[in-house]
Symmetry: C2
Subunit: 567 residues, 2 copies
């Protein structure tokens, strides 16, 4: 493509209302334009990126045996009423009436619609398993759309739905999709992690997210520094120590700690490490009353984990300090397990301590040399805390570090939630009616484009991976209007690269080198070739990769350029 | 693709609520499924057809220099208020409020949005001309959606918009688009005509439609039997006769025609042909009063043409018979130009008659041997009638016949209607502000799929042109489970065809030949290869084109098959 026929709309100014780098750069480089809150048009440059992503997604979904179809964006309310989600979905679902005053929604997802079609055409186990996908526009009426196309209201998703006779076959397809997604994210050239999205009730493998790693990511992830483990911080398990608890060596002793209420204050006052202190949090019980939760002094409560305990109210609610004062007879800063007047559960790490420090359940006093089983009851030991950097990875490989990620994909074993609600059934090989198991699998196509930028940019602009770049290489001729040698050389190279199928951009606008390079860097073309009289005098082009600090001279041949492109 | 991995959903029953053939066949063959009124999902088979059409459209639009982008489907009301169409568009525009109670519409077309983007990024004549297109989902809330995807509410369009410094450049791009559309419709393999959509005020070339010819088409077209001329019947011009009017030979004579009010009655009663009679229609005048319109007895008034006359009220309204009786002193059946008490205009064909018959403006009486200029004033002679079959084509090539068509594309010189309303301006080479000229160009992608079927089907099902077929060839093995010879032969052929890039479907479901053939015919695959022991004994496959009456034997080689496919 020639830039004389393909208008760029680049600016140096950072748009005032763009908070994140990808949003700023996509506006500055002319990839997108805003139409309204959470509504963006994709200019020709941007659409090329989307189409590259879509092509990879389609190829891998097809390879994985999923069948592409296309469902409407406008959904009759009746279907959503059938599943119960017409009521459950909040204002995020855009609803409207047609001219006949019938209710509709702009589909935010398509479980109901695919179930509707499934029950029309699928009757027998012989037709299963089956998987469908679509690349389609969706709308979610976010209260505060932001970050450009990262969290827009109208967006493009690849969503897929699979149907199975039993859980084993669903699990097989889930892994098949996991592999397809891994191929997709790998081919797109992004640094990503497969993240456990739910450590909980429906099994660890039931839901995973594909995160693009980026410092600006909205999600905090716990990843292994030397293995594949990755989980949302809230979802990461912590393991009990493999070593047995040390034997008690000290006698329990009550010490005066006037005004020392926080773990940090006590730790400093008594000169013991935070890791040698037990702190007590008091929460509402599931059936009234209070429950105490013991944590190591340096650890944070994971509210999701704690709320799963049958004795604890869900969602978790901290006890009123006045109630704590009344029941414990002291302020919140001096609570401890010795003589604890309410049921107590302990995190593994707190339960593993010996000779520890804790509150004395007496204002301005703590205990030291405390031991479980001797000075107070052995507690129920559970995983109740947030994972911390440096913790051993739950899969046993390496230690945990925290990174930030942007969710680009999500795979999910739905089970029979929708197939039951929508009355799906097929006959098995014995003629019995079976409600199929379902899986669903999504990739945010428009969001991915932005997520890649969050991961890959510098002060000059975007740095696209080859696979997603709108053009793979840009040719910058110096003095195009003055030098016939340059004109012939660059036109020849352009024609020959086109002939080999390389997506090549020719900057034939006659701009000065600085302006040409600034545009090329801003829009993020991975490879740049400069054609000038100086280089041509020695039969050379100048080559620079977008990430490289310096340009290098290469032979002025199409073959040498192709080698640099890795094409 | 193997049918064991690509479920077909075919039925023999014609769906009760499907009126037209394409709708019936698309449902029966499993191309589409209904979700709600005017809402259809495209099953994998159907989506393949859409994607074929889209690919051809994209290739030709790119070749024509148009740049693809993608605009949102949800539009802020403000933009439509700016153009004035928020008020003008009726209930066909689907409107809704978001969670913050702001007004939006599901875009039925994108003139406002493209203008919004244009004015953000285009400032100078150096950036023009420019043309953008998108392939995008639109919604029009038809009062009575019908004919399946032919007139659905949610549909896919390719819409394009161009911007120009002046009318000449707009006209140039209009022709460029006309050629691109011609290539598109030709490549899709459909029988089509480029039809003048408006013969009127803004010039003959300002708007043309691309019609797929089909007996079931909603539009009646006047086409030349031996040239390219085609127009909507309402828009077709008629030419004045090239021969001068014959000289008067008869004397005017009043004859009694009791009860003979219609032209047919008079013609029979007086034994003169309809083509020798002048009839008078009386309509409301533009400024009150009445106007008489003279037509030849066999011709029909074209109301659009007549209403363009400055003396005639627009839109056209026939005069009240009581008013006619009062002014002419006789009933409507006996009107004539002799002594006509109101202004009279005549169609060219009526004005060309000599020695004609007409009403005497006296009940139960007509005149014969009447001549313009002698017995009554020479009338103003105009094109006022509907074109008729057998008329000379207005372009001078051949005679007119009527055919029916389905509008599949539309190209339009918009001029400055939207660019003025939306405040677009660019600076010309002298620094003066210019409002750009606009063109718009649409193709109904989803409708085209149905239109092709209306043109190309038989009792057994759909007959796809090669370019649109979801698969080009289907392989039907006979006795796949029993014959290793058949299995090896068909698998080899399948693999080799895939290797050459042919879209091949293998019916590996193990069905009986009759069922296989019925499915292949219904879904409309253009080429069929039967592989059976009987043929293979003589090193032969059976080949049949979907349109052929009989199958033929060909050599059992991939090369022989490819030759038949024309691939």
């Amino acid at each position: 493509m020639r830039l004389s026929k393909f208008p760029l709309h680049t600016t140096k100014e950072t748009p005032a209302d763009a908070e994140v780098v990808s949003h700023q750069l996509m506006l500055r480089a002319g990839y997108i334009r805003k139409l309204g809150a959470g509504l963006y048009s994709w200019l020709p440059l941007g659409l090329r990126v989307l189409q590259r992503i879509e092509a990879v997604v389609r190829e891998e979904m097809n390879r994985a045996g999923s069948l592409e179809l296309l469902m409407p964006s406008v959904h009759p309310a009746e279907l959503w009423q059938e599943s119960g989600r017409w009521q459950q979905m909040g204002e995020e679902m855009l609803r409207f009436k047609d001219r006949h005053q019938n209710d509709f929604a702009y589909g935010p997802t398509h479980e109901e619609v695919i179930c509707h079609h499934f029950r029309q055409d699928f009757r027998s186990y012989k037709q299963l398993p089956v998987s469908f996908y679509q690349v389609q526009t969706k709308f979610r009426d976010e209260r505060r759309p932001r970050f450009g196309v990262m969290r827009s209201r109208e967006f493009i998703m690849k969503d897929a739905y699979s149907f199975h006779m039993d859980k084993d076959d669903l699990a097989r397809e889930y892994l098949n999709m996991r592999e397809a997604y891994t191929r997709i994210f790998t081919r797109l050239g992004v640094d990503f992690r497969v993240v456990k999205a739910d450590s909980g009730n429906i099994g660890g493998a039931a839901s995973e997210e594909f995160h693009v790693l980026a410092g600006s990511g909205e999600d905090l992830l716990a990843v292994s520094d030397s293995g594949p483990y990755a989980a949302n911080v809230e979802a990461a398990e912590t393991l009990p120590s493999e070593q047995p608890r040390a034997a008690a060596t000290a006698a329990m002793e009550k010490v005066s700690t006037p005004g020392q209420k926080t773990c940090e204050q006590v730790s400093k006052f008594l000169d013991v490490p935070l890791t040698g202190k037990v702190k007590l949090l008091v929460v509402q019980g599931a059936e009234g009353g209070l429950v105490a939760i013991a944590l190591r002094g340096d650890h944070q409560l994971n509210e999701i984990k704690a709320a799963r305990h049958p004795a604890v109210a869900s969602p978790l609610r901290l006890a009123d300090p006045a109630d704590v004062q009344r029941v414990f007879g002291c302020e919140v800063g001096y609570l401890g397990p010795v003589g604890c007047p309410v049921p107590l559960i302990a995190d593994h790490a707190a339960a593993a301590l010996a000779d520890f420090v804790c509150g004395a359940n007496d204002n301005d006093h703590h205990l030291r040399g405390v031991n479980w089983g001797r000075d107070c009851a052995e507690p129920e030991s559970l995983d109740l805390r947030m994972i911390a950097e440096g913790d051993p990875s739950p899969d046993g490989q390496g230690a945990i570090r925290f990174v930030r990620g942007i969710e680009g994909g999500h795979i999910f074993q739905l089970g029979r939630k929708y197939s039951t609600a929508m009355g799906l059934s097929v006959l098995d090989d014995k003629g019995a009616s079976v409600t199929p198991e379902m899986g669903c699998y999504g990739i945010g196509i428009t969001r991915l484009a932005a997520a890649v930028i969050e991961q890959s940019f510098d002060a000059a602009g975007i740095i696209w991976p080859d696979a997603i770049a709108p053009f793979r290489v840009i040719l910058c001729p110096i003095g195009l209007d003055k030098s016939e040698t340059v004109r012939v050389a660059v036109e020849t190279l352009y024609g020959e690269l086109l002939g080999t199928g390389v997506d090549v951009l020719l900057d034939d606008r006659g701009n000065r080198p600085g302006a040409m390079f600034a545009d090329a860097d801003l829009i993020g073309i991975p490879h740049r070739i400069v054609v000038g009289d100086k280089g041509l005098a020695g039969q050379q082009f100048e080559y620079k990769h977008r990430r490289a600090d310096k340009a290098e001279m290469i032979a002025a041949t199409t073959a040498a350029v192709l080698e640099k492109l890795g094409a």
